[in-house]
Amino acid sequence: MNRTSLLAYLFIALTQSIYGNYRDTIPKHKNPTIVQLQYAGNMGLVSAGIGKSFFNERLSACFIYGYLPKHTNGVTVHTLALKTYYTPIRKSIGKRSSVEGYCGASIIRGIAKNTYVKYPSHYPDDYYQPNAYHIALFTGAKHSKLIKNNKWFDKVAAFIELGTIDYELWDGLKTDYIDFEDIWNVSFGITLNFLSKK
């Protein structure tokens, strides 16, 4: 499977899951607390976060810490992020599982060398734009499953996301010399819903 066909497959699968006419019959908890673990997606090699879902689990927000260790590619990067996403559709599969489609945006704060919110005083005013923040956009698909008899969690989900980030999207849109497929990335992860009263 080449890169272009993989991206096309992901795009179609994710948009179909978002815009398809599905019904949700899985029972929901009110504003569950969620934790997530993620691989890649401009949040570090791995990242972990905690957040809440609202409005019958349609809207979710997570605070995330990500870590890229030096042994991966030679530099250490810490990442703090606020990830928000909207889940417009959810298809029930039997009584205990569902497939969800969602889209969202993250604000990413990178902590790395020569990365600033406010530049040191030796720079003239407004010499550079702050380079510590980026905005990432993504669409994702998630397979959720209710779990029984667990002391801590009552739902587990695996997700895959197709994303882009502000400067790649901007440069990709403004010029023909960057391949459209160059601006996309893929990430994976799991989420867990803490046990809560119905």
Binding site: G44, L68, G74, V77, G110, T115, Y127, D171, D182
Partner: protein, 264 residues
């Protein structure tokens, strides 16, 4: 059924892992596959011979994220005949990010002549200096062609912790071989912003080193428009910027140089 699901999951993960360029850990990552591009090209340049007495090369600067303009510059350079090599005087990125370095290289590799790329102040942002070193090699280096020695100098101050460039290395390189005429290539000129004001003493030291050695020509970028300053011992030129759709062709003949501005 569960085993089938696990197998499918592992199969999907293997496919994605195979498409490693779809995996992005951080905008500040230094994930680069090309290495030592300058080092390899320097060997080619040093082994090539000038066909007549005149050495000709093209020089441009500040491509930043002007990828369309840069592609046009590459097409124009490729139409030039008789060049020995091409020089980029730095600022090949906007924010020193790995993807920007890759996009620069994807266009620059279409140049039919060997290309030498100097580091610029923008290329120092984020982990850009690490990426530059991985992709191109050391930030200070030199190479020779015929009667000329080209000294490529990393003279970034503010973005390098507001610290002094390695003037000891520069002095050593410029004075090492008195039989060759030196051309200095560095992103920031001694008369640009990073060497005035509080850093004026650094600028003066920089100028003194250049004046005391056999430098005939200094080539810089940074200011985005062509400027020239003639000193008693040498000439300092801020070359054409790709963003302003101009590059230069320089011809060296004995102690003389001629410079043409090429709009594209």
């Amino acid at each position: 059924m569960t085993k089938i699901k696990i197998a499918l999951l592992l199969f999907s993960a293997a496919i994605f892992a195979g498409c490693s360029d779809l995996i992005e850990y951080s905008p500040y990552d230094t994930d680069i596959t090309n290495s030592n591009v300058n080092t390899a090209n320097m060997e080619v340049i040093s082994q090539s011979n000038v066909e007549d007495d005149t050495l000709r090369f093209a020089v441009f600067s500040d491509t930043h994220s002007y990828y369309g303009e840069f592609s046009d510059a590459v097409a124009s350079i490729n139409r030039q005949k008789g060049l020995q090599f091409v020089v980029c005087c730095g600022d090949l990125t906007e924010s020193g990010l790995a993807q920007e370095f890759k996009w620069y290289y994807n266009i620059a590799r279409n140049i039919k002549y060997p290309i030498i790329t100097a580091i610029g102040n923008h290329d120092y942002l984020s982990n850009g200096s690490n990426i530059y070193t991985k992709m191109f090699g050391p930030t200070n280096f030199s190479f020779t062609n015929g009667a000329y020695k080209f000294v490529v100098f990393d003279d970034i101050v503010w973005e390098n912790n507001n610290s002094s460039p390695n003037f000891e290395w520069l002095q050593s390189e410029l004075s090492a071989d008195t039989t060759k005429k030196c051309i200095l290539i560095a992103h920031i000129s001694t008369w640009s912003d990073e060497f005035i004001g509080d850093n004026a003493p650094l600028g003066q030291k920089y100028e003194d080193i250049i004046a005391q050695n056999k430098v005939m020509l200094c080539l810089h970028g940074h200011d985005h428009s062509y400027k020239e300053k003639v000193y008693p011992t040498h000439t300092s030129v801020i070359t054409g910027s790709v963003s302003h759709r101009t590059y230069n062709i320089i011809s060296l003949h004995e102690n003389q140089f001629t410079l043409r501005q090429i709009p594209f």
